[in-house]
Amino acid sequence: MNAGEITTPKLGVQAATKIYHTASGDLLALDRCSLDVRANEIVSIVGPSGCGKTTLLWSMSGLHGLTSGEIRLDGIKITGPHPDIGIVFQEANLLPWRNLDANIRFPFEIKGEKPDRAWIAHLLNRVGLDGFGGKFPRELSGGMQQRAAIVRALALKPSVLLMDEPFGALDSFTREEMNRLVEEIWLDTKTTIVFITHSIEEAIFLSDRVVVLSARPGKVAKEYRVPFPRPRSLEITATKEVFDLTNRIKMDIVGERTRPKAPERPSAEIVRIRP
């Protein structure tokens, strides 16, 4: 993180507001939500369910428009899906009728470009999927499917990677493995990453910054800097700093929901009980 970077953020969200018109009336999902993501940064977005995290991410990807406000990529307003933005969806979202190779070729087919074989081979090797190209998604575990989805998202060399609760469906061991993989890939490519998750630990482990959204309508409630150097080891999740930070974020989120029942116990006491 260089201090003296250019002022233009990689991805700038300015007063993003989104209203869904539903049968039961209008729903304000995002309310003047503003957020800057700098180049080469990993930012996680956490918040109570239904707070508009996914809405925010889909707006950033250009997959749906905003009611008002704007998203800028390198200072230029985006109006639709952008080739420089890759997305990893909830659950792997692979096409079940294509084998891994064909799934990873899919973005190139849509764009009418020749697949960059060397780069794909490098990525497959990076995520440990060498030799699985002929397998169909149903033949792979959830973790392997999500690895393939990450390769697919990175295949077009986007400069921004948006990840929408990518590991929510995985067991906690696989999830930790995937978190390390994301960090490795980041160290390798320095792709700017916006990561949505329900897991505060995951958010802290991965991110340079954790952004907490308030309950609906979503707006940025808090922001925490995570100062640990990279590569991080999983041990940091057992340190007191991370534990306190986790609790603070949890309070931000839970406190939103059950404001009257604020916990009285000091967090230090809980710390003693846990290990």
Partner: protein
């Protein structure tokens, strides 16, 4: 007595079907060839059932015009085949051309109509009407209008197969997975690309089901139409042989028809195995 014939003929063609199907799936269910024992058991059961029928019919001196024994049916099939073969050809022509027309129209309509949910709602009752009406009922009318040639039969087959293909294909096209469409869109896919790369492959298993049902309904309708009028086709052979009380020949034709049905089933089964096996 009138019960006896359909009952026998059903069990006859029925077990023929069962045996070949199990046989087929035994072969098809993987490279690990099911043991010779299994195949032997399947064949043994077939031999016992067919042999048993043969024996029973001969023991109880069942007259030939009620139920011919399997051996005489097999002989008739062999002996009369040169005479039956052209009629098999006529029936196939009607089936293939009628099915091709009906399936093509059905597929296109399904693909178009599912893009417009409102139009679909308007059209749905008429489609349902087409699916549920036995198109055989229209054959006399079609014959009045088009004569005794191929035309009324091909129209009837197309009318029977088309709606079946359409209704199943439409079910397939309606299976929208918004995440997969979002995926394609995130790479800037056009509506046409989304159709060919996402919607069509997703609908394929249901389309194949529709094609299979359509083809079998087409066969039914072709034979039915031939029985109503006109001097050629397997259906016409059925009416001719039964009117002449040539029961072994009659059952030989029935056997050919059940083989045709099985062939249709196996064909689509294999296509499905090859192209739609991703769906369990």
């Amino acid at each position: 007595m009138s019960d006896a014939i359909p009952e026998f003929s059903k069990s006859k063609s029925g077990d023929g079907q069962d045996v070949s199907l199990t046989n087929l799936s035994a072969f098809a269910s993987g490279p690990g060839i099911k043991s010779g024992k299994e195949v032997a058991a399947i064949l043994a059961v077939a031999v016992i059932i067919i042999g048993g029928i043969e024996l029973a019919l001969r023991l109880f001196h069942v007259p030939l015009y009620i139920m011919p024994p399997p051996s005489s049916i097999a002989y008739a099939l062999f002996d009369e085949f040169p005479l039956i073969a052209p009629h098999l050809g006529y029936t196939l022509v009607e089936l293939v051309s009628g099915f091709a027309i009906g399936a093509a129209v059905g597929l296109v309509l399904a693909a178009v109509i599912t893009q417009f949910p409102f139009a679909e709602k308007i059209v749905a009752p008429y489609i349902l009407l087409l699916v549920t009406t036995p198109m055989l009922a229209l054959v006399p009318l079609l014959i009045l209008r088009f004569g005794f040639g191929y035309t009324p039969r091909i129209i009837a087959v197309a009318l029977a197969a088309g709606p079946m293909v359409m209704i199943n294909a439409a079910t397939g096209f309606r299976r929208v997975d918004s995440a997969k469409i979002a995926l394609a869109r995130s790479y800037g896919a056009s509506t046409l690309q989304i159709f060919w790369k996402i919607r069509a492959p997703m609908a394929l298993p249901m389309i194949l089901v529709g094609l299979m049902i359509g083809a079998i309904f087409g066969l039914l309708t072709a034979v039915g139409a031939e029985m109503v009028g006109g001097g050629f086709g397997l259906g016409n052979r059925l009416t001719t042989y039964s009117s002449m009380i040539q029961m072994p020949q009659f059952f030989a034709v029935v056997l050919i028809l059940s083989m045709l049905g099985i062939l249709i089933y196996v064909l689509f089964f294999l296509i499905g195995k090859k192209w739609a096996s991703w769906e369990a």
